[in-house]
Each structure stands twice: as structure tokens, then as C-alpha cells.
Symmetry: D2
Subunit: 350 residues, 4 copies
Amino acid sequence: MEFASDNAGPAHPKVLEALIAANTGYAGGYGADSVTEAVQARIRDIFEAPEAAVYLVGTGTAANSLILATLANPWDTVFCTSMAHINEDECNAPEFFTGGTKLTLVKDADARMDPEALRAAIAAEESRGVHGPQRGPVSITQVTERGTVYSLDHIRAITGVARDFGLKTHLDGARFANALVALGCTPAEMTWKAGIDAVSFGGTKNGCLGVEACIFFEPAKAWEFELRRKRGAHLFSKHRYLAAQMQAYLRDDLWLDNARAANTAAARLAAGFAAHPQVTLAHPAEANIVFARFPRHLHAKMQRAGAHYYVWDGDPFSGDPEEQLMGRFVCDWSADPAETDRFLELLAQG
Amino acid sequence: MEFASDNAGPAHPKVLEALIAANTGYAGGYGADSVTEAVQARIRDIFEAPEAAVYLVGTGTAANSLILATLANPWDTVFCTSMAHINEDECNAPEFFTGGTKLTLVKDADARMDPEALRAAIAAEESRGVHGPQRGPVSITQVTERGTVYSLDHIRAITGVARDFGLKTHLDGARFANALVALGCTPAEMTWKAGIDAVSFGGTKNGCLGVEACIFFEPAKAWEFELRRKRGAHLFSKHRYLAAQMQAYLRDDLWLDNARAANTAAARLAAGFAAHPQVTLAHPAEANIVFARFPRHLHAKMQRAGAHYYVWDGDPFSGDPEEQLMGRFVCDWSADPAETDRFLELLAQG
Amino acid sequence: MEFASDNAGPAHPKVLEALIAANTGYAGGYGADSVTEAVQARIRDIFEAPEAAVYLVGTGTAANSLILATLANPWDTVFCTSMAHINEDECNAPEFFTGGTKLTLVKDADARMDPEALRAAIAAEESRGVHGPQRGPVSITQVTERGTVYSLDHIRAITGVARDFGLKTHLDGARFANALVALGCTPAEMTWKAGIDAVSFGGTKNGCLGVEACIFFEPAKAWEFELRRKRGAHLFSKHRYLAAQMQAYLRDDLWLDNARAANTAAARLAAGFAAHPQVTLAHPAEANIVFARFPRHLHAKMQRAGAHYYVWDGDPFSGDPEEQLMGRFVCDWSADPAETDRFLELLAQG
Amino acid sequence: MEFASDNAGPAHPKVLEALIAANTGYAGGYGADSVTEAVQARIRDIFEAPEAAVYLVGTGTAANSLILATLANPWDTVFCTSMAHINEDECNAPEFFTGGTKLTLVKDADARMDPEALRAAIAAEESRGVHGPQRGPVSITQVTERGTVYSLDHIRAITGVARDFGLKTHLDGARFANALVALGCTPAEMTWKAGIDAVSFGGTKNGCLGVEACIFFEPAKAWEFELRRKRGAHLFSKHRYLAAQMQAYLRDDLWLDNARAANTAAARLAAGFAAHPQVTLAHPAEANIVFARFPRHLHAKMQRAGAHYYVWDGDPFSGDPEEQLMGRFVCDWSADPAETDRFLELLAQG
């Protein structure tokens, strides 16, 4: 009954096999190896973007921060939602890598940025010459931090507003695959065809050990990115071991299969919550994350039974047994349906 | 005949086995797992430093930069040699992570910092109130960037000068194990017993995929380091896969065995160079790196035979066949003695 | 009819006389002169703070940014209102000087920060270990950016919340004197006696050419501040010319007289607005700034008559003549009552 | 007998008169005033550079740091001499404003950078891909920090090397006027006609209170500079008081007259030193700074007589009376020939 995080789960065995396969003799360092080259080509293929600049790093925060630093000036402001990972969960890494760019928080609904609120927020900046922060890129997260998924129309609405002001849009795709299978579209449709300029393409949460791709559809700043990556200490010397993970991840649809498994598990969980008289969903559960509200006494029971998940609203340890808490439940590719069923059965017994 | 770099070599099979062993079910993220805890304890044991703060990161540049940022203020200057990795090979990462600390280059002999030159360099700073940079930490590299090894007396001389001015000393130990087996001393003797305050303890170049430990013998700034690591995007979420590498590396003396193999291969190479009438050693070869000078025609021959190494002085591609080039030869744990012999035989044929 | 800004006004003649008086022969550079020493002592006296560390800089943004950089770590977040000058009007200078500190925007009423909203905002941070930004200092502006003044009780409420969490409070006193005469209290009462830790003490907007004092009531970080000031290029070499301005400003109550003149002019204006059937005050006018709403046709008329002020809401150039605009009117020490009357008379004629 | 620094001297009375003249009623803030506009036009005229971007700041360190930040990337290295003010006397301000650019120290003779050493230093960088710092701008100081002056040929040699590598050259002209009158050339000849791209044009040391101009002959990055200036807190709100100083400085050749007076005083001093059997010049005295070596007993005598200057080499307070010290003597525009003569007479008496 493990719902704490998709980074608490294991790596997929095929990813580890790929590491072993890559571990043959000598290979060029710092990305000058054949596995890296192959994986870059594979990503360009998958995204139908033969000109794209593709780089690998070890963490999602590195991917987001390095991309934003490449897109934004230090005197700019980045437009994102208040619950964006770049705002809430990166300990000011975006501010560090950009050299002090600000984040302007735009209204959302279920963690999806509101396009008209974005338009108003952008319009409100840069009206005071050098005094205010200047307009910088827009950043959205897909799957969002609340488990919802932007539709293609919604993404186009966001990037359309950004382009009206000449701004770029970054997509934080830490859970890219989960969103993709939820939408049933192609990577190109979910990104550059919808106006996205750069993507943090996650592997870690969906079966890798630790690898994310940074993708720029317009490669003009590719060299700048390479320098920023090295200066940020994110260029791995034995680079083939990053690349091998990603190669296995993208081979034979492993990434999509993993994402489908995670989403299916979350849907099963969400259906169980919806059917429970004392539980309500806090947000639509559209991918592999479920937010639910339930009384404290239910929480206490599930904890005693050994379930793991984070409580985001309310004090899990004390108070009125009927008071509502909000829990976050994340399913990863390795989620065991039997465990989910066990959890729901226990819950159903109230 | 692979002598390009110890990061071009493979990972040791036991390190990969450890990854597989760690890949069992769910585990806490961001270092809250039992493997990480075990490896921290193991490092404290090895260093006889029960109070030490120990952290893992994925690259050596991250280890160096994060440690220096923790030890130095942005208005300080770090004292190092001109060929220090932090000066020459990190694309200003130390300056980035520290927020603009300067590096003051101190005279060396065979890449070993001269203690009296260090004293003079420190004395020359901070004599102008707020105008000049302030005195910051000293940083030395062991094994040095020219393949030499500091003796314990030499390290004590350096840290003694630093302490005379109240300054800390950092040891960049990207090749820590190679130096340790060369000296035949304990980790404690080579570090805190000799006055070292913080260590970048390398694993990547000596058989791991990508992991380095950051060790502070005085843990006062441990929390600050943790925040800097996260803000620098160097906190891995699936942290157990960093830890498992290091755990295997330190188990059953693998790290020392690997280092001995690399040093032995380099000694074999250096002996062959020394015996060759047309080759001279550019620096004493004391660990796993050999610098040698030889005429261009010998280089051309070895290239044709498929040998891989970097030429650091002279144009490898054109010029007088008798002109001297300087090559750097690095041996890693996986070096094949037969290949080294083949190289030396070819060389001996002139 | 000049209401554009209090930095559009002239310097007071006595300030210029002081420059001439200070211009005698040689004097130590970088603050090592007798005028600087005298003005530091004078400020300590005025604030009844014999231990305070006092420094001069040339701009208000420098004062704010250098103080915040001294109080906050790069991984912290500063708590301020959305309309805070440090958020809206300094082109990310606070982020630059702090090395990437975030600003968390706290709810206000008439630009005065709400203490309970502050408590909630602080409580919401630092609950995620290294992941979120850490709690940093609180910063409030007195006179606020909307022309209101914090009561002493209100300041104590804010600093009380900050201290409950062990946080420092900064007061941006670009219009310190205007607030002081509005409250009729002492500088000590409005600052350290009410829990304030550091003050940007403005001179520029109230009769100087360009000088602000930075005051730390607890001098522990005085030397760090001096290094930050020099590193920020804000240490003036011919420092006596900063000091002489401040000396004249604080002599014979010039600063208080100037502030009273400005406040009186603004009160006259506000009274005229309040009496006008088509004008409403947008915020209480408590010092030297007045925000008023009025129909576009009135604006057009006043513009034709040569009045200068900024329109902050609404398009001043086109639209329905009855649509409401919001204008900001600032009075400085040199405001001419006859001009204010002329403005009000024109306005009264409709 | 005041030779400590040209920033210890007074401002010229005409500069103060200009402040009073500018102090009439209201004027636009932040540079939107007629005096600023006039002084920008005047500087473009003087430099025969109608397209130049011209900005004013309050300190020389701000001018240098903001210009270098505009010319250099954070991953670059700036080429300068070891005694460059940007290296020795700005407390890492260039590193701060650039976001961590390194400084590479190039060999000099009498503080003038050696063009062939520059070529070698540039050639040595950027040969390691992303690993080393990248090649950034060259920065030279005119008058140098040792009182020498670059000839036009020498400047052209430096900028020629820079251009061979596609690099820009910055001239730190804190004592621009002193060099100009020493060379007897035009501002254009000493700058853009000799290949200089940007100039810190000093006013403070030569009769102003505190103002320096930043001049870019190619205005492509003008807007970026304006944002950097504001973000660095160096945009003065009551900007006319910066501009008025510079306007007076450039009117009726005041700047050149002041510089000539200072240079003449220094030449008188240098001649006296040269004639003294116990004194030797440490560097050619070509503008308004003189470096001289003399025995400690002479120093003690001059100190007792009340002479002010800094001792740069040797302990001024104790040691063998015959031991050589090196003193720096700076003459400003207000130097009194009678005082210089008195100093030399006392010195002559031994």
C-alpha cells in the first residue's frame, strides 16, 4: 500500500539491464559516446523534431532550472502557478540558475493555469520601463502538481497567450508519459505542435534511476545550454549510464507501458474513493496522482494498516476524528493492483 | 590501449550488482532510505570520524562546488594552483555556486601547491579592508592534476599555513583512493589528521557510474550544505541508486583494489616510458596518471596503432617529426596489462 | 501642479549648502572622514540606538537590497506585500543582491500587510524540509506604496508574528520622515521599540540629492554589510558628499519640516478630492501620497491645464469620458500651496 | 602635502555651482530630464560617436562591473592584469555583477598589459569545449594602476589581439582625462579609433563628487545595460544631480584643465624624486601618479612633517632605517604647487 511518491518506487528491470549492456569497455566521456548519440536521435524521432537540441541531466530540478535559465534573463519574471514544482519544491533552484529571475504566480483551476489570468498577469508587467521585472517565459506542468492533465486545447490557449507577447513556453514534463497516455496523443502534438518551446522530459518517476531529458525545439541556444549544464555541475562524465537508462526507457514502448500501469492503478484508486461515502476527490484524477479528502479517523485506520501517503491539508496526528484531511496518493509503474484493492477494501470497511 | 581518461572506463560489475540489489520495492526518496544511511555510516567508519556530515552527489564538479560554496563567502578568494580542476575544468562552476568567489592561483611544483607561496598569497590579501577580496579556503587536489601525490607532511604544511590564518582546507579527492594506496596510509591520516576540513571523495573515476561523497569533518554547516545541494539541483530523488554504488565501492576493499590496479598499470607504463631513449616523464608518476614527452613521429605511430590518450602540449597533427609533444596517459581500474605491454612494445620498436 | 513623484522635486537649498561646506580641502575616502562619522553618530542619537550600525548609500533600491541580502539566505523567501517596492519596482534587485531569494506575497489592506495573513504565509513555508524555500525576513514599507501609514500597534503586530518564528523585520523607510510626522512618534518608537531590526532610512525623496541610510539595530552583521556594499559597488569614494547631505537633512529638524510640508500639501489635496462630487479617494491619504478615482473627462481637463501625475488604473488616453481612472498624486517638501489650490479650483469647475 | 588619493581631494567649485543651477523646480526622474539628455549628447560629441549609448552611475566600480557584465557571459573569463582595479580593489564586484565570470591575469610591464602575453592567454582558453571558461572581453586601465599610460599603438595592439579572437575590449578610464592630456590625442583616438568597445569614463577622481559615464560605442546592448543598472540599484532617481556634475565637468574644458593640473603636479614631484640621490622612481610617472622607492628614515621624516601618502611595499612602521619602501603619490586637480615644493625641500634636506 505504497502511495507516497513515484520516486519511492523501484527502477524497471529493463533499465538496469541496459546499464549492464552499456558497461562494456571504454567509451568517450561527457556525452561523446554512441549510446548518448543514439538516445538523442531516438528522442528527436519520437518528437518528430529532427532539429531539436536534446540533453540529459540527472534530476528534474536540474532540467527545469537549466531550461528556465536558458529561456529567461535575470531581470525577467517567469509565469507559473502557485503550486508549480518550480515555485514550491525546488528550494529556489530556478532563482539560483537564472541569476535571480522572479516567479509571477498565475491563477489556476485544479492546478491548470488559467489562460486569461495569464494574459492579465503578462499585461500587468513591463509597463514601468526598467522598474518592474521584464516579461519572461511561461512554465506549465503536465501532469500538473494536482494530478490533472492539460488538454491540447488548453496548452494551445496558454502558448497562444505567451506568443501574443513574444514569450516562450516551457513544459515541466516530470510525468510526461503519464499525461501522454492520458491524452492519447503524440509527443509532438502535446509539445511543439501545441506551441511548446522546451520540455523537461522525465524518466526518473516512471521507471528510471535518475535521468531527465531537456529538449529545445529551436536549437539556437543549444551551446549556451551546454555551458550552463557544465557550469551547473550537471554534465556527467560517464555519460553513457544516463543515456542507457533513457534508451531502455524509450525502447519497445516501455515508457508508455509504465505510464499506463501507473495511471490504471490511480484510476482504480480514484474509483474506489469516489464510491466511498466518506471520501471525496479533491481534484479530478486524470493521470497517476489522486487527491482525496476523508475524515481523520479513516486516515488513522489506514496508517495503522501500513498505508503510505502524504497528508497535504490538516494535521494527521491530532484533532476531531471527523475533521477532513486531504491526502495525496501517487501510483508508479510498479503499483500492485492487489495492494490497491487491499487498501480500498480496508477503507470500505470504514 | 586506452589511456584517455579514467572516466572513459567502465563501472565495476559489483557496482552494477549493487544497483540490482537495491532495486527492491519502495524506499524513501531524497536520501531517506536504508542504503543511504548505511553508506553514510560506512564512510564515517572508514574516516574514523563519527561526527562527520556525509552527502552524496552525482558529479565531482558538484562535490567541489558545493563544498567550496559552503566554506567560502562570495567576497572571498579561494587559494588553489593554476592547474586545479576547479580553476581549469569546471566552466566557472565554483564561481557560480559560491556566488562570485575569486580563485587566487598559488605557485606549485609538479602540481603540488608550495606552502610558502601559499603563505605569501594569503598574506597579500585582505590588507586593503573591504577593497580586496577576503581570505577564503584553500583547495588542493590529491592525486594532483599532474599525477603526483602530496605526502602527509606536505598536506600538513599546507593546512598549517591555512590554519595560521584561520582558514579551512578542502581536498579535491576525485582520485582519493589512488592517492591513498600510493601513500599507504589511512583515510583519516590523509585528511582530518593532517588538517583537512572537507573532502570531495571520488567514486566515479574508480569504478562507479557517477557518485561522489562530500565529507565535512566539522558538521556545523551540514544543514546549509543540504539546502545548497537541493538548490543546486543535486539532490537525487531515487537516492538509493547513488548510495548503492558507493556501498559496493566501499565493500570488501573494492575501492582500494581498483585503485591499486590502476596505479600498477600506470607504474608499468611509466617504467616503460623511462626505459625508452626518446621518452621522458614530464612529472613524477605517483598514482594512475602519467605525463610523458616524446617526439611527434612516435605519437603518429601510436595513433596509427589505435592508442587513445590526450596530447596536452604541442600540435599532435602537424610539425617537425622530432618536435616534443606532451601526452597525458590515465589508467583506470580496468586497465589490461596486455594492452599496456602491447603499447610499450610498439613504442620500443621506435 | 507637480504631483508626479517626490523624486521629481528639487533638493533643499540647505542640503546644497552643506555640500559646499564639506568641500574644503582633503578628506579621507570611503567613509573615513569626519562628516561621515558625525552623521553616523547623529543617526544613532536620533534613534536612541548607540550600538546601531549605520551606513550610507546612494539609492533606495541599494538600501533595501543590501539590507535584505544581509538578513536573508539565498534559499529563503522574504515576506512582503504584492505592491511592495522591492517586489514591483526594483527590477529584481533584491533577487540579485540576495543571490536568488524568493519573495512571498502576503495579503494587505490598503497596502498594509495583514498580520494574520503573514502568520499563515510563514506557517505555510518550511514544512517540506529542503524542498521549499526557507523562511526569511519580513519586509514592510512605511509610508506604504499606497500612501497609508502603519500604526505602531500594527508594526508591533507584524514584528510579533515574525519573532514568533524567529524571523527579522526590515522597514523600507523611503518616506520614513513622512510617516514619523504623521504618527507623531519618535524614530525609536517606530522602529526598534516596535520590533524592527533594520531600516532603509530615506533622504532622497524628502529634500536630498541622493542618499539613504541603512540602519541595523543589532550590529552583528555590520562587517558583512560593508563587504556587500563594496561588492555591490555602492561604497562611494568621496563619501563626504553623501554624508554632508544627510547631515544637513538631520540638522535643525529639516527632515521633519520637509515631511510636514509634504504631508500638509497632500492633506490639502485629499480634502479637495473628498469634497469633489466626482472624485473619491482610493486609499486613506495619511502622509504625502494621495490615490484618487475620477472620470476620464476630468483627467483630460487637468492634463490640458498642465497638471503632472501618474494614472495607475485605466487608460488615460482613450475611452468613455465617464469611465473611472485612478491617479497617484505625490507631494514633496517643495509643494506650492498656491499650485495645489489652483489644481483644486480647476477640478472644482468640473 | 596630500598625496594619498585623488578621491581624497575636493570637488571643483564649478561642479557644485552646476548642482545649484540644476536645482530648479521639478524635473523628470531616472534620467528623463534635460540635463541628462544634454550631457549624453555632449559625450557623444566629445567622442565623435553619434550612435554611442551613454549612461551615468555613481561609482567607478559600478561603471566597470556593469560594463563587464554586459560584455561577458557568466561562463567567460575576462583578461586583465594582476594589478587591475577590477581584480584587486573591487571586492569581487565584477564576479558579482557578471554572475561568476573569472578573471585571467595577463603579464604586464609597468602595469601595461603585454599584447603577446594576451594572445597566449586567450589562445590557452576555450580549447577544452565546455570544460574550461570561455573567452570573454579584455579589460585595460588607462591611466594604469601604476601611473603609466598606454600609447595609442599599445592600445591598438591590445585591441588587435582581442579582435583576432572576436573579443571586445573595455577601457577602465577612471583617470581618462589624465591619460588624454598626457597623450595629447582626442577621446575618439584613445578609444573607438583604437579599437575600444566600451569605456568607464571617470569624473569622480578629477573634480566631481561622484559620477562616472559608461559608454558603449556599439549600442546593441543598451537596453540590457539599462536593466542591469536598475537591477544593480545604480539608477539614480534624482538623476539630474549626477548629470549636472558631468555637464560642468565637460564644459569649457574643465576636465582637461583639471587633469593637466594634476599631471603637472605629479611631474614636478617625479622630477624632484629623480633628482634626489636616495629616491628612485619605481615606474615611469606619466600622468598623475608617482611610485617611488626611498629608505625608511626618509619616510619617517616625511610622516613627521605631515605628508600623506600610502606605502605599498615594506613595513612603514618598523625595520632597518635604510631599507627601501615603495610609496604611491597621487596628485589631484587641486594639488598646491607650494605644498609639493615644501615636500621636495624637506625631502632634499635628507
